[in-house]
Amino acid sequence: MKDSLTIVIGGIQGEGIVSTGVDLIKILSRLGYYGFGSRRFSSRIKGGNTNIQVTISTRKITAVEDKIDIILALDKDTIACYREELKEDGIILYDNLLTIEETENAEALPMTEIAKRKGSPIMKTTAALAFLGKVLDIPSEILGNFLDNRFGHKGEKIQSDNMAVLEEALIYEEGIHERIRKSLASPMKKISRPVMIGNEAIALGALMAGCRFMAAYPITPASEIMEFLGAVFPKYGGSMLQVEDEIAAINMAMGAGYAGVRSMTATSGPGISLMTEGIGMAGMAEIPVVIVDCQRVGPSTGMPTKHEQSDLFTLYYGGHGDYPAIILTPSTVEECFEDTGRAFNLAEKYQCPVILVSDLMLSLSPQTIDPLDYEKIKIDRGSLLKEKDLESIVDGKYKRFTLTEEGISPRSIPGMKNGIHHVTNVEHTENGLPTEDSEIRKQMMEKRFRKMELLKKENTLKVIENDSDFLFIAIGSTFGVLKEAVEASGNKVDFGSIRMLKPLPAEELSCTFEKYKKIIVIENNFSQQLTAILKEKIGKSDKIEAFTKYDGTPFTITEIIEKIGGMEA
C-alpha cells in the first residue's frame, strides 16, 4: 500500500493520450484521491510522442514525482523516454502490438486489439484506462459510470462501443491485477473533488469576477481561457471575440473597459510583445483592463509547447515611457481563481492594466483541487461613479483626471449624464484635454504613480517557516515543485512565493529578507529575471541568489532537493 503512485501514459500525438491521463485523475478524484498531471507535447498536431505523467496521492500534491511506478505505453517512444525513471518495483503496461524487448516487469496487453474488436482502434485509450483501473483496483462501476458520462454527448454508437471495449478489457485475464497490483492507501476523505487546469481556474475566476468581455487571439498555452469563456459567456450575457491579432485584442478590451465592462484578454509571450504599446495606453488613459500572460519558452517563437518563466522582465519593465501597472503571480490553481478575481477589482480600483502571470505548467497541468471558495471573489468596482454622483456637476465641467490625494480619480463612463469628458493619450489636464505644460505634466505623472503607493502596503509574500537561515522563493508552477521538494527533504528550509510582483512591496520584502543568510530564487529562465527584479528593488545583492533552468522543462522535485541539500553544506 503506497501513499502515492506515479504513472506515465504515452503514445502518439492526436490519439487522446492527454485526455486519458485527465480521465484517470478525474476518476481517482471521485474516489477521494488527489492527482496532478504534467503534460509533454510537441508543436505538431498528429504524430510524434506525447505523454502525461500523473501522480496520484492520498494527500494534496502540487507537482508530479520524478520516479515512476507505472508506464502505460501506446507507443515505443514512451518506454524509451521513461524506462530510466522507472522505480525498481515499477511496471510497464504496453499495447501488445508494439514489439519491445520483453522484460520481467513488462506486461503486454491487447489494447488496440480489444478496441478494434469491440469498437474502433482509437478506443484503445478506453482499454488502457480499463487495464489501469484493474491494476489500481478502481471499482469497475466507477470506471463505467465515468466513461458512460464522458462519451454521453458523443452519440450513442461511440458511447456503446466504448462501453463494450471497457467491459471486454475488464474481463480480460481476470487475475492480472493480482499479479501486478499497485494499491494505494485509502484516501483521507472519500469525497469527490474537482480537477482543473490553471487556465480554467482563470477563466472561471474572470466569470465570477464579473468579467463580461474578452477579445483574444489564439496561442498556446493561453487558448483555453478564450475557449472556456467563449462557451459560457452567452449564458451570462457576456461576449468573447476571436479578433484579427493581439493588438486588436488589447485595444478592443480597452474600449470595452473604458465603456464600463470588466474586460480582459489572454495571450503568451509573442502576444505580450505585440500588446506592449496597448498596455502602455491603458496606463496612460487609466483604463481598467486585465491581461493574462501564460508564459512559454522564448525568445521569439521559441518552443511553443514547452515551459518557461521568461516574460517577467518585459511585463515588469516593458513598454516605452513610465506608467503604472499591477502584476499578479498566482502559484496554484486555487490562486489562479482568486487572483483573477482580485485582478478585476484592482483594475477598476486603480484604473490601470493588471497583468496576471501564469506559465505553461500552471496553465495546463490538470490537478485535483479542493473546491473553490465562492466567497473568495467579491466584486468591488472601486471609484466608478453612478449617475446620481454626477448630478451636482455642471455639464462639461467633470474632471476625469482630477488630482486627488491618493491619485485615484473617480470615473464616469459613456452614457452618464454630466460625466462627459475627453480622454487623450497625450499628456493631459484634469479635464482630460491635451497639454504641454510642464508643471501639469509633472503632477499627472506623480498622480498616476501615487496610486501604486497604496498597493505597496498590501501583503504579497507568503512564507512557510521552518526555522531555517535559507529562504527559497519561486513563483508560478515552480512554487508547487518547491513545496514538494521542501517537504520531501524534511522541511529543512523556509520557502515561499510572491503573489504580487508589481508594485513590489520592497519594505515588507526587505524586512523579511533581513532574517535570512541567503535567499534562493528558483526560476525557469536564463537571465535570472525574478532575481534581478528583487535585486533592483530591494538591494541586498549579495544575499539573493538565483537557481535557474532554461531548457524548456520544469524543475523536478529531485533537482530542488539537491539544491536544498547543497545549501546545508
Partner: protein, 286 residues
Amino acid sequence: MNPVKKYSNNIQPNWCPGCGHFSILRGIQVAADQLRIPNEQLVVASGIGCSGRLSGYMHSYSFHGIHGRILPFAQGVKLANKDLAVIAVGGDGDGFAIGTNHTLHAMRRNLNITYIVLNNQVYGLTKGHTSPLSEIGFVTKSTPAGAADLPLKPGIISLAAGVTYLAQSFSGDQDQMIDLIIKGIQHQGFSFINVFSPCITFNKTNTYQWYRENLKDIEEDKDYDVNNLQQAMSKLIETDGLCKGLIYQNTHVENPSQHTIKETSLAQQELNIPEEEFQYLMKQFQ
C-alpha cells in the same frame, strides 16, 4: 441651440487655417444634432494625426487613442454598450497604413458603428510624409523622388472587405457630407465614409480645387443602384476611386458578432453570479 455649439467643447482646433478637417468636425456636429443624439450617448474616438485631434473638440464622450488602433477600441466600446452611438475617426495613414488590418476586419465584423476617414492623402502631423493613399510621383520628405507604389483606394478596399455602407465625400461639400454621415449613422451595421479633406500645408497636389475638378458625383447618375455590389465596384474602378456620394449600401447583412449580445448591454449586465450557479459550474470539473 446652434448645432455646432451643442456638440462643441469650445476649444479652438489647432489645425492650420483652411485645413479640410474643420469641415468634417462641423459635419459630425450637425449630423449628431439632426439625429438628436444625446451628448452623453455619443462616443467619438479618434486615432493619432492631425485628424486624430478631432475628438478633442467634441462635447460628447471622446477618446484620442494611439496611432492606427482606433477601430478595435471603438468596436470594444460598442460591444460593451450597444446603446451608444459610436463614431470612429482617423487619418488616411491611421486607417490605411498602420491600421489597415483593423480597418478590414472591422468592416467584415460589421458592428453598428460609423468610421470616418479624414483623407488628405498625406501625413499631416509628421509634417509631410507620403501616405499609402498618395499618388504615384507625389514628392514628400520621405519620397524625394516621388511616391513609387500604387496607392490604395479606400473605396475599393472596403467593398472588397465586405463593408455594408460605403460613402465618399469632400470637405468642400458640407451638405452632401452631412447627409452621408447621417445616413451612415442610421445604417444598421458598419458604415464607412471616406472624406477627401485637403491638407493645405503639405499636399499641394490634392487641393480643394483639384478635388472639385476630379471628383465625380455619383448622385448625378440617376440609374446608379446603391445596392448593387458589382456596379459599385465597377464605378470605383472606372473612376479610379475618385467619386463621391453614397456608393454602396447593403441592408441585408446581419451583424452577428453584435447579436451575441442580449437585449441588455454588457455594461448593464448583472455581474454577480449566484452561488448555486457557481456550484453548477464547478460540477463540470468532476
